[in-house]
Amino acid sequence: MIDARTHAWLRPLVAIFVGAAFFLPLYLMLVNVFKPGDEILPSPASLPLPPTLENISGVFAREDNLFTFGLINSIAVTALSITILTVLSAMLGHYLARSTRLFSKLLLVVLLCGLMIPIPVILSPMTSVLKAFDLMATLQGLVLVNVGYYVPFGVLLFMGFVKSVPRELEEAAELDGASKIRVFWQVVFPLLRPASASVLIFLGVWIWNDFLTPLIVLGPDSGTTVTVGVYRAIGQYESDFGDLFAFMFLATLPILIFYLALQKNFVKGLTGGAVKG
């Protein structure tokens, strides 16, 4: 065994080395965003000195507006989906956690089965359903599909939290004459804030990053999301890594900021549910 003193300097060294090796691909993307295209292949790992914003402005200047329109669509779809999902799964999770009937238990099992279903398995009939409602190739259609597909995950998270809200609190409010809706909105929902934060953050990241669903649901003709935009951009940029990396960098930035802004809540929320659930 290595003795403790050797360990003391070995651990940070190994940790930094492994971390750096792991991060290398991301580093390559980051530095090359700010490097002129023709310098990338000869010296991919060098620092971008002096840095150029050519690649970034190139993404905004695209004639097909692949990035700008994609960004707007992504923001709209993600924001709408996670807002609806938070509200619907909070209500459904609360209902199922409080109901003692066998029917509710069955519903829960059916819902949780949805956690295991990969998107490709249901994608084709899903588009048939969307066509029946005339929602194919629309943002509303994509939002609805997201809501249906991710509601089991939201319910799972909220149910754990509802159990930590004392039932007596709700009953007291009801005694005071508050309606069920008011009890939910003014008593229960505010107490579920950590769970809401986790749902927002998880689903926000997942929906923003989704590839296959928007690719198929929005189709090739109408505008697409920024993540699918990255895929569409590959063909045109073939070997111009600078433009492509800049596109990806810009496509990732909003969700990364969203994630970092909510992250503190998320870690708290996660452990809160684990302890009390």
């Binding site: 651990r11 190994v14 940790a15 930094i16 492994v18 971390g19 792991f22 991060f23 691909p25 390559l28 993307m29 292949l41 991919p44 790992a45 619907l88 209500m91 459904l92 609360h94 209902y95 819902l111 089965c113 949805g114 295991m116 279903i117 990969p118 490709p120 398995v121 249901i122 994608l123 084709s124 009939p125 899903m126 359903v129 609805l144 249906g148 089991p152 939201g154 009953e171 009801e174 004459g177 069920k180 990241v205 990053n209 590839f211 296959l212 198929i216 993540t227 990255v230 895929y231 590959i234 070997s239 492509l244 990396f245 990806m248 496509a251 990732t252 969700i255 990364l256 994630y259 452990t271």
Partner: protein, 320 residues
């Protein structure tokens, strides 16, 4: 205690009749608020789930017994013919093998790597907290972005091979163009993306191992390895369960990386997975019936394997 609870629960029922006139009427009074509550709180979420998940699952099951093809009507019932074709379809068998190989590699590598890195980073100082962030970053990124980055690194004239040529390697391997290598490159990329998830879950598990237990074992003369095997590892059982199930599902449904990086190639389906085949048959070949049978097999495999593994691992958690 129970008496008070009854009193409280009886409360609103006593209070309601004078407030709403409708409640006084007949047995409907007791049922309507319950139904109303169901319709208001439960129904919206359930309808969305039913329309876009449950109904499609049933449709997939039904279509798998037909020859449905929107460009080649009429749709006829064909019994188990799709499933029989599937069993002898070399494309399907290769996709199945590829999926199993990817899943195994990802599950083992990400679990082992994640555990080792978690053990390495299980210290409270700022350096290790920052490194956790480094490992977790790919988890937050889209697999499309990850795929494009790795494609730029691994493609024939990409960043890695340029570097290798610079070091004097005459003909560096075709990481993505060699049919014998491409599948492993894909498995590696998925592992790399999932590693941070495993690190974080194992770190959370390590927080739950009491220091006193470690110290007591050390005093009893247990070496580092014995301590890990007998004290730390058993307490990481729940973390192992979460990671394994998560990785299994991720491996089984692998699609994005293949679509973005290799499009199923090189050659005939060297990296095609089941998910890739399902989508290809449905949206490129328009063979909805056949694609549905494939999807049904895929779902049965995912569900079967994850339920069995979950059972086994959870039993292990209890006995330890």
């Amino acid at each position: 205690m129970t008496d008070t609870k009854h009193a409280v629960r009886g409360g609103p029922r006593l209070a309601t009749p004078p407030r709403t006139s409708r409640a006084r009427r007949s047995g409907r009074a007791r049922l309507t608020p319950k139904l109303g509550r169901f319709a208001l709180f439960a129904l919206p979420g359930l309808v969305a789930y039913g329309l876009f998940v449950l109904l499609p699952i049933l449709m997939t099951g039904y279509y798998s017994f037909t020859n449905r093809n929107p460009f080649n009507p009429p749709t006829e019932f064909v019994g188990f013919r799709n499933y029989v074709t599937l069993a002898g379809d070399p494309e399907f068998l290769q996709a199945l093998t590829n999926t199993v190989i990817i899943t195994l590699i990802v599950t083992v590598l990400a679990n082992v790597g994640g555990l080792l890195i978690a053990l390495l980073l299980d210290r409270p100082s700022k350096l290790y907290v920052a490194l956790r962030g480094v490992f977790f970053t790919p988890v937050v990124l889209s697999s499309v972005v990850i795929s494009v980055i790795w494609r730029a690194v691994l493609t024939d004239d990409g960043l890695l091979n340029s570097a290798l040529r610079g070091l004097g390697v005459e003909s560096p391997p075709g990481w993505l163009s060699d049919p014998d290598l491409a599948l492993y490159s894909i498995a590696w990329i998925i592992t790399w993306q999932m590693l941070g998830f495993c690190v974080v879950v194992y770190l959370a598990g390590l927080q739950g191992v009491p220091r006193e237990l470690q110290e007591a074992a050390a005093i009893d003369g247990a070496g580092g390895l014995t301590r890990f095997r007998n004290v730390t590892w058993p307490m990481l059982a729940p973390a192992l369960t979460i990671n394994t199930v998560m990785l299994l599902i991720t491996g089984f449904k692998a699609y994005d990386q293949i679509q973005v990086i290799t499009n199923g190639g090189p050659g005939t389906g060297a990296t095609a997975t089941m998910a890739f085949q399902v989508v290809k048959e449905a949206f490129v070949g328009n063979r909805i019936g056949y694609s549905s049978a494939l999807a049904a097999v895929m779902l049965a495999l995912v569900a079967g394997v994850s339920v069995v593994v979950l059972r086994v691992l959870q039993r292990r958690e209890v006995t330890q």
